[in-house]
Symmetry: C2
Subunit: 163 residues, 2 copies
């Protein structure tokens, strides 16, 4: 279930968000994924639609490929030309992008420049539910269960645990 390149030990609290950002947190990475989700697969389209400098885009796409998020497929040899497709891991980034869009719609723009329509019918208005209990998820109902030895919500406890 993990991408090909595992995330090396990071500084700070062990956390999947940090691990995720290590992979997709560099500039332009998520915007490139967004464009591929929108159906744009070619370098030029990605460059134009994200606004990323071409060299940065090249670097990001290579890194995303190595991380198992995009796949490069040749659609022509001579000259060699590639399309960028998302892997399952890449498609799984859609909720992250939707969450960013939702936040941006509310806090960073005046009018949403893009609206997601649900079944061509109505603008999607997503809420999170807990599949286990069936109730809506509210921040106040969530508590941290930290599984990493030597860590608490407040930070790192004593020294290294007894070996």
């Amino acid at each position: 279930m993990s991408p090909t390149t595992p995330v090396p030990p990071l500084p700070g609290r062990p956390c999947s968000a940090a691990a995720a950002l290590h992979v997709v947190g560099e500039k332009w990475a998520l915007l490139a994924v967004r464009e591929i989700l929108y159906g744009n697969r070619r370098f030029d389209a990605l460059a134009r639609n994200t606004g990323a400098p071409r060299d940065r885009l090249t670097a990001r796409l290579r890194a995303l490929e190595e991380a198992g998020i995009v796949e490069r497929r040749a659609y022509s040899e001579r000259p060699p030309r590639y399309e960028y497709h998302l892997t399952e891991a890449g498609r799984d980034l859609a909720p992250v992008i939707r969450a960013l869009v939702a936040w941006g719609d509310k806090w960073a723009v005046e009018e949403p420049p893009v609206v997601l329509r649900h079944r061509g019918d109505h603008p999607v208005d997503a809420v999170e539910y807990c599949r286990t209990c069936g109730d809506e998820v509210h921040d106040r109902d969530l508590a941290l269960d930290i599984r990493s030895e030597g860590w608490t919500p407040a930070g790192r406890t004593g020294a290294t645990p007894p070996g």
Copy 2:
């Protein structure tokens, strides 16, 4: 509803995700927000728990303050000392961080280092539902409704629209 500093026109497709990333996309920004969400409000705790270099953390916190995501509250004068609190906009980043955690749990780590418990009871297992129609949100049911003049899913159309 928008933060104090509006996002300037960005290159590329007008998109709330891009606008959001302009504000919280720099390194360490979201991890700092994560720590404040976890209840850590002091510089030292943020530095230790994120692993961010202190100068970078200072820069991020200032930028987040200016963007209206964190608030600095003095808890001592002489020497001046501050706690960092989230504004409503900051608290609204929780779903973004949860989405990153969910992705990281699945694709970037072996075992989740942190599990969110729902009502102290069970691990939260979030799914998105559409508040309007009550059905679960699947990517395949979503279509783009682009409101920006001169843009389509594939990219920018002709030139600037007639003024």
